[in-house]
């Protein structure tokens, strides 16, 4: 093949690729084409679990004139780390989904800029942990042990209710937990035990759990759908662990996604084993559309969004004027005294605790 011909072939191929890229621009960059002077799109970066109903997204556009574009950026920890890496040249305008376990890392790296949202007075002061308003609380949820009601009824055994119960011989070989390094419910559960038993006692507690046959897997999906005997997936997979670390909202969701919906949830919540997570949103430093971003943060704590959230992301609203759906009031539980922990304390201890936990439980 001579040079000219080869070059021509290369050129044709290059054109093919650039044409493809151009098509991509046309499709993916609609916003760019339409919104040169004042951007009409506001981009929300979030974790993979972000969801909102179509109506609510439409309502946002109607109220503010902005179209919402959502960029899902991996699981919660990964998404936060990506924002830290791209600091100064963020992928979007607002980040939603940093929780109290990672908040300090995000704030210390300066990825957010202050904005005092409209309607903050409807959110309990205890949740507004950042006095500079770099982040705004949006939802909260409880990580708790769930139990298989059928199993405990058959065995005529009372399901465990507290952390202490889980270490009792009656519940030997029944519990499956997630690896706190890889999974956020796993981390929440570890932090719950650290708060409950303190620096002096949590390791002893885990020694007892280990002696009592606790099993560890890497992800919530595996623990819940594979090992847990109470969930639909676990039943098919013949899971044999009737206790699993999941969320207080899991039982209502089991009901929601069954056909026909059962009158009573097949699973229950051990309310003395809970750790409360709060998720925050913040305006990103260097956002291309800060006005749109501010409007979006206001919208995230509006009644419309807060009411929609429980059935989308299975978390609880944070504003006091939000209404919980019937599904939650009927099948969910109210956790009175969850463990919780200040972001600073988590930041100071997180890595060390995980490391100690790993050598204690996995090795």
């Amino acid at each position: 093949m001579n040079t000219k011909k080869a070059a021509a072939a290369a050129l044709v191929a290059a054109l093919g690729v650039t044409t493809l890229a151009a098509c991509g621009g046309g499709d993916g960059g609609k916003d760019k084409a339409t919104g040169t002077p004042a951007p009409k799109t506001v981009t929300l970066v979030s974790h993979d679990s972000f969801n909102a109903s179509k109506e609510v997204l439409a309502e946002f556009t109607k109220q503010t004139g902005f179209t919402l574009k959502v960029l899902k950026s991996g699981d919660a920890g990964e998404a936060v780390n990506k924002e830290i890496l791209t600091k100064g040249s963020p992928q979007g305008d607002v980040f939603f989904g940093v929780d109290n376990t990672l908040l300090s890392r995000a704030l210390d790296n300066g990825i957010f800029t202050s904005y005092e949202a409209k309607g903050l007075d409807r959110i309990p002061a205890a949740l507004q942990v950042d006095t500079e308003h770099r982040v705004t609380p949006v939802d909260s949820g409880d990580i708790c042990v769930n139990y298989d009601k059928q199993y405990f009824a058959d065995k005529k055994l009372a399901p465990p209710q507290t952390f202490d119960d889980l270490a009792e011989p009656a519940y030997k070989d029944l519990l499956v937990v997630e690896n706190p390094e890889r999974s956020s419910p796993g981390l929440g559960f570890l932090l719950g035990t650290a708060e409950k038993y303190g620096d002096a006692g949590w390791q002893d507690y885990w020694k007892k759990l280990k002696a009592n046959g606790v099993k560890t897997v890497d992800s919530w999906e595996l623990a819940y759908n594979q090992e847990f005997s109470g969930s639909a997936g676990g039943k098919k997979a013949k899971g044999d662990r009737p206790l699993v670390v999941s969320y207080a909202s899991s039982p209502p969701v089991e009901v929601l996604y069954s056909e026909p919906q059962p009158k009573v949830a097949p699973t229950g919540v051990s309310t003395g084993t809970c750790f409360r997570q709060t998720e925050f949103a913040g305006l990103l430093n260097g956002a291309k559309n800060p006005e749109g971003g501010k409007a979006l943060i206001d919208f995230l704590i509006s009644k419309k969004f807060q009411d929609d959230m429980p059935l989308q992301m299975f978390v609880n609203p944070v504003t006091n004027d939000a209404t919980l759906p019937e599904l939650f009031t009927k099948h969910g539980v109210v956790v009175d005294k969850p463990e919780t922990m200040a972001p600073d304390k988590i930041a100071a201890n997180r890595d060390q605790w995980i490391q100690q936990w790993t050598s204690l439980v996995l090795k």
Binding site: V17, N81, T86, V217, D218, L222, A232, G233, E259
Partner: protein, 562 residues
């Protein structure tokens, strides 16, 4: 020095034009790799090793001195070697059977063995646990449990990579002229000796290529190790992921990435040495001429053994998923499939999930197109005897298979962030990232065939007055078309099942099939679980049908004269 080429290689002037042509062909592949692979990876590694503008070489010894990291390296290496050996052992007879025997349903079965490639690893994990885990099939029959043992990882690796061997080796094998082996036997060689002295050397390069790809895939295995091995096992890849995505310890991740580079580089060097010695021009014939119905008890037995191994290793896990997609609380039925057609009122996806099929196919087609263009040009450039520079380029093209996806992904984030290359929110990022993995398949599948083309055919065409372009079209293309389609099939399957890059970019209103499966599995409830299984089953069928169609394209023109 092989007999087919040097004497007729022509005067030095032609050599120079050849080089120029080769460089022209390489421009685009080199640019592609520089922008979408080298630059992102180098940037992220630099960020890790030079956090404040100063190099910190101490990180290197610090990380490599840690016994935990050494454990990780050792485990990565030996499990990859063991997985590769096991895969070759199980799949080479399969490659032979697919290449040489005719039997009903062969095309379908060849498509089906490629299905594992597209399945999200969490589904594969689920299926395997149903077979080898607690109260799985093996447990119920013989009380054998393999979950959280290294056996589960090895067997799952065979499941995943069976098609790599069958397609790369089988592709060439089916075009080898069986008469050469027959001639050796007529001359008195035993069946074994004839195979060893005639067929094996001819197959050498493609077996090497397959082994190399399986090794790179299993050495950088992520999902399988995480799910089937449990938290106690970690490979270099899972460790890099942990250090980057979970802990943001970029310095440790950077050191591990360098180790990965070194290891992959060493493997490629060994492979290049082994293969180059054995490459020869071969007499290639159309596959239709080489396959026949099995004859004699031995051949039937071999066919039966291969079918049995495929049944146990590949079909059984797939069947588990299909069974679960049909098992509703009220007996077997299509309820979950019907549920997929309706728009979820609660807004999980905002579109009927059947739309995800269209999305997936579009992404996969774009990625395949890019991979075929880039890989095709690269393979054409690499065909002829090459200098050191070009051989280095050959190795470079393989690197993405062995380098951690999270490194590349995080590298994209910090490099492709300015117009005109702010691709972080553009859909093209997904096919581009997928093509990075597809290109090595295209190159490795095409090269052994291209290099096997007898140079004298090209020379003859030139003597008869054909332009080089025409000579390529008339001589190389017909022979290569089949390999190209096989390679395209791979690139397509890889893209169809790809998850990491896609989840990063897929919008709520256009998820792909694997992304939708993962989202469904991420929430409780029987309907979600059932729909995830149903959607996975659809993913299998879409993959198998696409591959069958692709193979149909391998047409009649190939059976023309050579």
């Amino acid at each position: 020095m092989d007999l087919a080429r040097p004497e007729v290689a022509g005067p030095a002037r032609r050599g120079r034009t050849g080089n120029a042509a080769r460089l022209a062909l390489m421009v685009l592949p080199v640019a592609f790799f520089a922008v979408f692979f080298a630059w992102p990876v180098v940037s992220i590694v630099e960020r890790g090793l030079r956090p404040d503008g100063h190099w910190e070489p101490g990180r290197l010894t610090e990380t490599l001195g840690s016994p935990e990291i050494l454990d990780v390296l050792w485990f990565t290496l030996w499990q990859a070697l063991a997985s590769t050996a096991l895969t070759l052992l199980v799949a080479l007879p399969g490659a032979y059977v697919f290449a040489r025997f005719d039997f009903p349903g062969k095309g379908l079965l060849r498509a089906v063995v490629t299905v594992p490639f597209v399945l999200p690893t969490v589904m594969v994990g689920t299926a395997f646990l149903a077979l080898v885990g607690r109260r799985g099939l093996l447990d119920e029959l013989w009380g054998v449990r393999l979950d959280t043992t290294v056996w589960a990882i090895l067997i799952a690796h065979v499941f995943f990579n069976y098609a790599v061997v069958v397609r790369t080796v089988g592709g060439l094998w089916s075009q080898l002229d069986p008469r050469q082996e027959e001639a050796a036997r007529v001359l008195g060689a035993s069946r074994w000796r004839a195979w060893r002295t005639v067929t094996l050397p001819a197959l050498g390069p493609s077996v090497g290529a397959a082994a190399l790809m399986v090794f790179l895939f299993t050495a950088s295995s992520f999902g399988i190790v995480q799910i089937l091995g449990g938290p106690a096992y970690s490979t270099l890849e899972t460790e890099i992921y942990r250090q980057t995505a979970d802990r943001l310890q970029l310095s440790t991740a950077a050191v591990l990435t360098l180790v990965q580079f070194a290891a992959v580089g060493a493997v490629l060097a060994v492979h290049a040495r082994m293969v180059r010695r054995r490459e020869t021009a071969l007499r290639l014939v159309p596959p239709e001429r080489t396959a026949a119905r099995p004859r004699g008890a031995g051949q039937w037995l071999l066919l039966a053994a291969v079918l049995l191994s495929i049944g146990l290793l590949i079909l059984a896990p797939l069947a588990v998923l299909v069974e679960r997609s049909l098992a509703t609380p009220t007996g077997y039925g299509l309820d979950y499939y019907r549920a997929l057609q309706s728009v979820d009122e609660n807004g999980t996806f905002l579109v009927p999930m059947t739309d995800t099929i269209v999305n997936s196919l579009q992404y996969a087609l774009a990625a395949t197109a890019i991979a075929v263009v880039i890989g095709g040009l690269a393979a054409a450039a690499l065909t002829r005897r090459a200098g050191r520079l070009v051989r280095g380029f050959d190795a470079l093209l393989m690197l993405p298979l062995g380098v951690s996806a999270v490194t590349v992904g995080f590298g994209f984030l910090i490099t492709l962030d300015e117009p005109p290359l702010d691709l972080r929110a553009s859909w093209i990022l997904v096919p581009l990232a997928q093509a990075l993995v597809g290109v090595p398949f295209v190159v490795r599948t095409m090269l052994p065939v291209l290099r096997a083309v007898d140079e004298r055919l090209r020379e003859a065409a030139a003597v008869l007055g054909a332009s080089p372009w025409r000579a390529w079209r008339e001589v190389d293309l017909p022979l290569v078309r089949r390999a190209l389609l096989i390679a395209a099939g791979f690139a397509f399957a890889v893209s169809l099942g790809e998850f990491g890059a896609t989840v990063f970019i897929a919008r709520p209103d256009n998820p792909t099939l694997p992304v939708a499966v993962a989202r469904l599995l991420g929430r409780p409830g029987e309907l979600n679980y059932g729909q995830a299984m149903a959607l996975s089953t659809i993913l299998m069928v879409v993959c198998a049908v696409s591959l069958l169609l692709l193979e149909r394209l391998r047409t009649d023109r190939t059976s023309g004269e050579f």
